[in-house]
C-alpha cells in the first residue's frame, strides 16, 4: 500500500467510526421512551405498550419494580421518561422534589386489594371488622409487600388496621421486596395467605382470591402517571396520550384495573 | 527375616520383572538409576500395587495377585526412610518421632523413644521444627521416626543420595548401628558401591527392571561385570575380618581373616571388634613368587580360581586365599607375561595405604585417607 493509499484508508475508517459514535448515543437517548412502572402493572402495560407502538412510533422500554424502588432510582438520576406509581405518596415524593412535570400528571388507574391463597387451598373467609385472620394464618405467614415502602404493603396494612386485626397478625407478616414477590410466595405455597392486588390475582394462575378488602378500609388505590422533569424524549407525550386512549383502557380493564382518567 | 519377592509390573514405558529371595540383616537393592530399585521398594512398601506377583516377609503375605490378597500400606508394619526425609512441617521433631508410634498397636510397640533418640543422637533437636534442621539432621530424625513405628521391616530408599560427602560420612555409622544393634531387617536401596559394600549383608543387583544377580555381598562384590562403569573402580572382594591387635608404634591395625593377617592404617576399634574390609581389585597386585624388598605389607598366598576378561586392557583374576577370595585387576599383558592361569599358586599383594575409611567399616573415620 502506498503512503497516499494508507492515508485515505485511515481517514475513511476514522470517519466511519466517528459517525457510529455520534449516531449511537443519539439512537439511545432520543428514540426509546423509557417507562418506570409499578410491578403490578406488568401484564396490562406490556399489552398496552404493544398496542401503542403504532401511535408512538416504536415500543417503549419498561422497567417494573416496586414504586418505592423506582422513585428512589429516579431521584438518583435514572433516565426514565415516564413514571407510573401504585400510590400517590411516591408520586408526591418526586413532585415535591420538582422531579416531575406537574402539568403532565394524571390519575390513571384504580385497583383493589384482595386476600389470596394458593390455588389448592381450602381456606374460606369473610373479610369484615375483627375477622380472625390470625387464626387463618395459623403458624404460617401472611405475604405482603414491605409495609413501610411498597404501596401494596401500605394499603394492606391500612386495611388491616382499619379492620382492627393488624396488631394480631403483625408478627406473622412476611414482607417481600415488591407485590409480585409476595404473589410468588403464595403461588409456590410457601405462604398460606397473602395480600396483593386484584389484578395480580387475576394474572397468576397459582393463586385464588379468598376475599376482597372493602374499599373503605384503605385509602383509595390510585395509579398516577407523569412525565419526569428531565425527560427530553419527543415521543413521551405521545405515549402518555396513548395510555389514556380507549384501546388502552380496554386492555387495563381486561386485567381488572378500573379506569380513573377520562379517555380521549 | 525372609523376604520373598516375585513381581511383574508396568509403569509407563518401564517394565519391572524381579524375582529374588533374601534372608539377610541388610539387603541392598543395587543398580544404576532407572533400573527399577525405587519401584521395587515402593512395591514392597505398598505405595504401588503390582500388576502381578507376590511379596512376602517372614511368611506374611503382603501382596499376592493370584490370590487377590493385598495388604494396604498402612497395615504392613513397615517403616520407610525416603531420600527427601519428608518430615511433617507442622509438627516439631518430637511430634514427628511420635507420629508412627501413635498408630502402632500397643502390643506391638517395641521401639522406645529414649533408646532411638540416643541411637541417633537427636536428643538436642526434639523441640525444633523440621525447617530449622540441616540435611543430615533431617535424615536422622526420619530414621528415628520410622524406627519408632516399631516396624517389622525397615525400608530405606537412597537415604543418603541427597547429602554431601561429609553428611554421608556422618550418617553411615548410624545405619551400621541400626543394622548391628537393632534386630530390624533392612532393605536398602542405593546406586553407590561404597555404601552397599559397607552396609549390606546381601545384595540384589538390578538392571533395566530385571534381577541380574542376588546373593551375599562378598560374592556379588566380586562380580565386577555387574557394576556400572563409573563404579567399577570400587569393585573388589569384601572380607569380614576381626581386629587382632593394634601396632601403636607405626599407627596400624592388624586384622585377622581367613586369608591371613592384613595390615591397615590405625582403626579406632577395639581388639576383637568385627571389621568389614573391602579390597579394591585395582589395588591388588599379583606376584608369582613371594616378593622381598617390597614396601607393601600385605602378602597373601593363594591359588587362582578364576580368570575373566575385564574392560579394555584389563583382566580380573580371582585368588582363593585359604577360603577367602581376593580379586585382582591387572593388565592382559601382565597375565600373559607371568603366564597366569587357573590353578597357579600366586601371592596377592596389597598396600596398607590402599585401605581408607571407605573400605573399612563400621568405624569412625580415620585421619589418613588413602
Amino acid at each position: 500500500m502506498t503512503h497516499k493509499g494508507f492515508g485515505s484508508g485511515a481517514i475513511a475508517i476514522g470517519a466511519f467510526a466517528a459517525a457510529l459514535m455520534v449516531a449511537a448515543p443519539a439512537a439511545r437517548a432520543e428514540d426509546k421512551v423509557i417507562v418506570f412502572a409499578a410491578a403490578s402493572l406488568k401484564e396490562a402495560l406490556d399489552g398496552v405498550n404493544k398496542a401503542c407502538e403504532a401511535d408512538v412510533g416504536e415500543a417503549a422500554t419498561i422497567s417494573y419494580a416496586a414504586s418505592s424502588a423506582l422513585a428512589k432510582q429516579i431521584e438518583g438520576g435514572a433516565p426514565a421518561d415516564i413514571f407510573i406509581s401504585a400510590d400517590l405518596d411516591w408520586m408526591k415524593y418526586l413532585s415535591d422534589k420538582k422531579l416531575t412535570k406537574p402539568d403532565t400528571e394524571v390519575k390513571l388507574l384504580g385497583n383493589q386489594i384482595v386476600l389470596v391463597a394458593p390455588s389448592d387451598s381450602k381456606v374460606e373467609v369473610k373479610i369484615e371488622k375483627g375477622f380472625d385472620l390470625a387464626k387463618l394464618i395459623g403458624d404460617g405467614r401472611l405475604a405482603m409487600g414491605d409495609v413501610k415502602a411498597v404501596p401494596a404493603g401500605k394499603y394492606g396494612k391500612a386495611a388491616l388496621e382499619s379492620l382492627g386485626v393488624w396488631s394480631s397478625v403483625e408478627g406473622k407478616v412476611a414482607q417481600a421486596e415488591n407485590v409480585r414477590a409476595a404473589l410468588k410466595l403464595v403461588s409456590t405455597g410457601e405462604a398460606g395467605l397473602g395480600i396483593v392486588y386484584a389484578t395480580d390475582a387475576h394474572a397468576e394462575k397459582g393463586v385464588k382470591v379468598v376475599g376482597t378488602f372493602p374499599e373503605d378500609s384503605h385509602p383509595p388505590i390510585i395509579y398516577p402517571v407523569a412525565q419526569t422533569a428531565d425527560s427530553k424524549d419527543k415521543e413521551a407525550p405521545a405515549f402518555l396520550k396513548c395510555l389514556e386512549s380507549a384501546k388502552a383502557a380496554e386492555l387495563f380493564k381486561a386485567q381488572g384495573f378500573t379506569i380513573l382518567a377520562p379517555s380521549n | 527375616m525372609t523376604l520373598i519377592v516375585d513381581i511383574g509390573h508396568r509403569l509407563g514405558d518401564f517394565a519391572i520383572d524381579a524375582s529374588f529371595e533374601s534372608a539377610g540383616r541388610l539387603t541392598a537393592l543395587f543398580g544404576p538409576s532407572g533400573s527399577g530399585k525405587s519401584t521395587l521398594i515402593n512395591l514392597i512398601a505398598g505405595l504401588i500395587r503390582p500388576e502381578k506377583g507376590r511379596i512376602a516377609v517372614d511368611g506374611r503375605v503382603l501382596v499376592d495377585t493370584a490370590a487377590g490378597a493385598f495388604v494396604p500400606m498402612h497395615r504392613r508394619r513397615i517403616g520407610m526412610v525416603f531420600q527427601d526425609a519428608r518430615l511433617f512441617p507442622h509438627l516439631s521433631v518430637a511430634g514427628n518421632l511420635r507420629y508412627g508410634r501413635w498408630f502402632t498397636p500397643a502390643s506391638e510397640r517395641y521401639a522406645d523413644m529414649d533408646g532411638v533418640v540416643d541411637l541417633l543422637g537427636i536428643g538436642h533437636l526434639l523441640d525444633r521444627r523440621p525447617a530449622k534442621l540441616s540435611g543430615g539432621e533431617k535424615q536422622r530424625v526420619a530414621i528415628g521416626r520410622a524406627l519408632l513405628a516399631s516396624p517389622k521391616l525397615l525400608l530405606m530408599d537412597e537415604p543418603l543420595a541427597s547429602l554431601d560427602e561429609a553428611r554421608k560420612a556422618e550418617i553411615l555409622p548410624y545405619v551400621e548401628r541400626l543394622r548391628d544393634e537393632t534386630k530390624i531387617p533392612i532393605v536398602y536401596v542405593s546406586h553407590s558401591i561404597a555404601e552397599v559394600a559397607r552396609l549390606a549383608s546381601d545384595v540384589v543387583v538390578l538392571a533395566q527392571g530385571k534381577v541380574a544377580a542376588a546373593g551375599p555381598t562378598g560374592e556379588i562384590m566380586q562380580r565386577l561385570d555387574l557394576l556400572p562403569a563409573e563404579e567399577r573402580g570400587e569393585g573388589g572382594a569384601v572380607l569380614d575380618t576381626t581386629v587382632l591387635r593394634h601396632d601403636e608404634s607405626f599407627g596400624m591395625t592388624v586384622l585377622g581373616s581367613p586369608a591371613g593377617e592384613i595390615r591397615v592404617p590405625r582403626l579406632a576399634r577395639p581388639a576383637g571388634a568385627p571389621v568389614r574390609l573391602r579390597i579394591r581389585a585395582r589395588d591388588v597386585m599379583i606376584a608369582t613368587d613371594r616378593p622381598e624388598g617390597l614396601s607393601a605389607l600385605n602378602i597373601l598366598a593363594g591359588t587362582i580360581t578364576a580368570v575373566r576378561p575385564g574392560v579394555g586392557p584389563t583382566v580380573e583374576i580371582a585368588i582363593d586365599c585359604n577360603g577367602a577370595t581376593v580379586l585382582a585387576r591387572i593388565t592382559e599383558q601382565s597375565k600373559h607375561t607371568l603366564r597366569l592361569a587357573l590353578g597357579r599358586k600366586v601371592f596377592a599383594v596389597i598396600k596398607t595405604i590402599s585401605f581408607d575409611s571407605a573400605t573399612t567399616g563400621p568405624g569412625l573415620p580415620i585421619e589418613a585417607d588413602g
Binding site: 417481600a176 410466595l185 | 498402612h74 513397615i78 525416603f82 521444627r129 520410622a146 525400608l155
Partner: protein, 234 residues
C-alpha cells in the same frame, strides 16, 4: 461515635441476626466445602467438569434466581424442604435458617475455590510418608492434610462469612424480609433506602456492616499468618 451506636432494638437485632446467620452459614459450609474441594482437587471421574460448574452456579446466576431455586427446592412444598421438615424437623421457610442456607449457598463457590487451591498445594509425598507410618487414609487426612490446608480453610471461611454478611438478593427472595427472623443487615439497609428519610439509618447500618467485615478480615489475616509461621513452609 454515639450516633453510630445509637441503634433501635430492631437495628441491633438486624446486626445480631446477620452475625448469627453468617457464622452458621460459614460453619455449615465447611464440611461439604472441604469434601467437594477434595473431590475436585484429587478426583478423576466422569462428570467432574459438571460438578465444578454446578458449584460455581451461585457465582454466575443472578442472586434472585438462586433465591427462587432455593424457594422451589427447600421451601415448604419443595422436595428437599418437605423431606427435611418431616424427618428432621428442619424448617427453612421464613426462618433465619433459610437466610443461613441462602447465604451459605451464595458463598459456597468462594469457599470451595480457596480450599481447593490449598489442597492442590499439599505435597502428596508427605501423605505417602504418613501412610507408611501406619496411618490409614482417613487419619492421614485428619493429621496431615487438614493441618497443611489450614490457611486455605481460613481464607475460604472468611470469604464465605463476608459474602454472607453482604448477601441480599437470594435471601430476600427465599425467606423475604422479616424483622428479627430474616431481616439481616443488607435487608435492613435496603428497607431504609426505600423509605423517605431513611438515609441516615441506612448509612449507620452500612458503616457497622463495614466495621464487622473489616474486623473479620483482619482476624483472618492474623490467624493465617500465625498458622503459616508455625509451619514455616519453605
Amino acid at each position: 461515635m454515639n450516633w453510630l451506636l445509637d441503634l433501635t432494638p430492631d437495628e441491633w437485632n438486624a446486626v445480631r441476626l446477620s452475625i448469627k446467620v453468617a457464622t452458621v452459614a460459614m460453619l455449615f459450609s465447611l464440611p461439604p466445602g472441604i469434601l467437594i474441594a477434595l473431590v475436585l482437587a484429587r478426583g478423576q471421574f466422569w462428570g467432574k467438569t459438571l460438578l465444578n460448574g454446578l458449584v460455581h452456579l451461585p457465582l454466575i446466576l443472578p442472586p434472585v434466581v438462586t433465591g427462587y431455586l432455593l424457594l422451589l427446592t427447600f421451601g415448604k412444598r419443595g422436595p428437599a424442604g418437605a423431606f427435611l421438615a418431616e424427618h428432621f424437623g428442619i424448617i427453612f421457610s421464613f426462618r433465619w435458617t433459610g437466610a443461613a442456607l441462602a447465604c451459605g449457598v451464595m458463598g459456597f463457590p468462594l469457599m470451595v475455590r480457596a480450599i481447593r487451591l490449598s489442597i492442590e498445594a499439599v505435597d502428596r509425598r508427605m501423605e505417602a510418608a504418613a501412610g507408611t507410618l501406619g496411618a490409614n487414609p482417613l487419619w492421614v487426612f485428619a493429621t496431615i492434610t487438614l493441618p497443611l490446608i489450614l490457611p486455605g480453610l481460613i481464607a475460604g471461611s472468611i470469604l464465605s462469612f463476608a459474602k454472607a454478611m453482604g448477601e441480599f438478593g437470594a435471601t430476600i427472595t427465599f425467606v423475604s424480609n422479616i424483622p428479627n427472623e430474616t431481616q439481616t443487615l443488607p435487608s435492613a439497609i435496603y428497607t431504609f433506602t426505600q423509605v423517605p428519610g431513611g438515609d441516615d439509618g441506612a448509612l449507620r447500618l452500612t458503616l457497622i456492616s463495614i466495621v464487622i467485615s473489616m474486623a473479620a478480615l483482619v482476624a483472618s489475616e492474623v490467624l493465617a499468618r500465625r498458622v503459616g509461621r508455625r509451619m514455616d513452609i519453605e
